[in-house]
């Protein structure tokens, strides 16, 4: 999810190329380049704690394990397994992302031992009651957006490019998103989301970046604030591991049913 977010939010380093590039072309070229920069991790696993907060400050917590498989020439395959809350333990999602055609997504309900194919077109809905929508969690393929470079800006002392992107998906919950990208490392530092009425909806901030295998940047924490409801969700990532030897057989309906 994070590597793909980077993909959409990096601005090309063409300081000396005096090509009369439009801001849209610049944005797309950047997304393609950033996608390449996060290529080659093969597979990854990580643990995630998701903390939901409402306006009153009440919290509830989810523990989720996520496995990802890089697919050459297509979007990632991923599996998310819930460890907590206890009543949803063993619930798992399997997603095959694609660039242009709709993602395929399955939900495993352990009490019924039922694999349910779910409609990935309902992507604007909240993921497990959090402030992250399904489309925020999904693998962010380059072709899912069109882009425009806006300007340069300094954010919290960090030099950033500011990019705008527009979802190609017509049922998206967003009109547009604006991202601040760290110029030095091409990592997103902040993304602002605008809803279907083009009103400010949410802000996502990234903290605690670490580099793995001398290449891949992953944030320790992601915080999503919903300005309209006053609710927020914090994702805390830990135990990142790459190239663990996962294969296609680990990402199918049979392995989904075995998810624990």
């Amino acid at each position: 999810m994070i590597r793909s977010t980077i993909a959409a939010f990096v601005v090309a380093l063409l300081p000396f190329a005096l090509i009369a590039e439009t801001v849209e072309e610049k944005g797309l070229a950047i997304a393609v380049e950033a996608d390449k920069r996060d290529e080659g991790f093969d597979d990854s696993t990580a643990n995630m704690t998701m903390e939901l907060r409402n306006k009153q400050g009440d919290t509830s917590t989810r523990y989720i394990r996520i496995k990802t498989l890089e697919v050459i020439g297509d979007g990632d395959k991923s599996m998310s397994i819930f460890d907590e809350p206890a009543d949803v333990k063993g619930t798992a999602f399997l997603t095959f992302s694609h660039a242009i055609k709709p993602d395929e997504q399955w939900l495993y309900l352990p009490a019924l031992k039922r694999v349910k194919r779910i409609n990935s077109k309902n992507k604007s809905g909240p993921f497990m009651g959090s402030e992250f929508a399904y489309e925020d969690i999904a693998s962010q393929e380059v072709e899912k957006y069109s882009y425009k470079y806006l300007r340069d800006e300094t954010l919290n002392g960090i030099d950033c490019f500011v990019i705008e992107r527009y979802p190609a998906y017509k049922h998206s919950g967003y009109t547009r998103q604006v991202g601040w990208i760290n110029k030095a490392e091409y990592r997103p530092e902040k993304i602002v989301f605008y809803d279907r009425k083009n009103t400010l909806l949410k802000t996502l901030t990234y903290d605690g970046y670490q580099q793995f295998l001398d290449k891949f940047w992953r944030a320790d924490q992601m915080n999503m604030e919903n300005h309209q409801t006053g609710k927020s969700t914090t994702l805390t990532w830990s135990d990142y591991q790459f190239k663990t030897g996962l294969k296609d057989n680990d990402f199918n309906k049979n392995s989904l049913k075995r998810a624990k």
Binding site: D87, G245, N249, N252, K253, N254, K260
Partner: protein, 404 residues
Amino acid sequence: MKHVLTGFMLSTVLLQTPVNAAQWSGYVSGQYRGFFEDPADPRQHNNYLSAAAEPEFYHSWQGGDHSFNSILFYRVDQYDDNRTHGDIRELSWTGVFDAFEITAGISKVFWGVAETQHLVDIINQTDLVENVDGEDKLGQPMVKLSTAQDWGTVDFFVLPYFRERTFPGVEGRPRPEVVVNTDADAIYDFSAGQDHVDLALRYSHYIGEWEFGLSYFSGIDRLPSDFFPITFDPGGQPTAVVPVYSLINQAGIDGQVFFGDWTWKLEAINKEYRSGRRKGSHAFQSVVGFEYTWVGFTGGASDLGFVVEYHYSDANVRDTIFDNDFATALRFVLNDAQSTEVLMGFLTDADTRTAAGFIEASRRIGQNWVLEAELRTYNGTEQDRPLFSFRFDNFVQVDLAYHF
């Protein structure tokens, strides 16, 4: 340096045993069932309390390639001795060998796509005494071989030993007017009886937005083919029956497809009886329907789903309540932190004016507690239809469970 790196990578892989290599989980719950009217039979009651526990133990090794699963279930009911029951829901080993996997032991398998009736789902016997909606299943002894390939998934089952269906006892409610006596021997109208080894095969796959499955089962029908009276009142009317189980071959098909926010679903079975008085006859049953989801209902985070399913059966009217029926339901999902959901609907028979209604709601409280409530109503049931027995049995049920 290279060895150090290899060693590091190797240790990373070996240490990649899942965090939950050996774990306990499950729930304990208390349930209250309250009826609005006095019962048809004075031996029944108006209020029932029961408690249940379902501990689960899981262990895996070899990086998850081998796993042991066990789920035990037990419920104690205040009045119904039949409802006080236990079951081994799961006690199995699964081994994964590349694209192949084997499961041996007692397990559960779910087939199908429909919401209001599960026609193709034949592997496991229904634990009917647990809930009237028939969604709870008994563990089934099996050896299952499965392979997931690019062209689809194939599952093959060998199912030794048949599990008999559970039924409410004399003091249970709701239950049919004529009690099913599960202490007396059930009738198997073929020689092998309960030890008959059943076989099943299933092929499933997806192509884009289409999901489909084909299945074939040869063995003992989980649904009793008949009920044989064994005790009578002075007037000659049956007071208790035993189930009759027959051999069948059942071919099934199930599928679903998405068109925008619409999901269309189909399940159909063709059953051929191979034993007993129905030998040689066929029964065809199907359910077809759609679900439409209004995502972001009234602009908020909630979803509202509309479910309509039509049921058809060419079988004798006594066999099933689903012979020419519409089931319609609304599913309201709040998408909140407490996973609040409400499902409400009713089943109407197109030939008669029978209607059965239901409301099911659930919500998490805190981090570990789940509260569920159900309301079931049976209205305008006509004599000579299976639901006629339930005409006084409108009830509300509340479950509070602690999950760990």
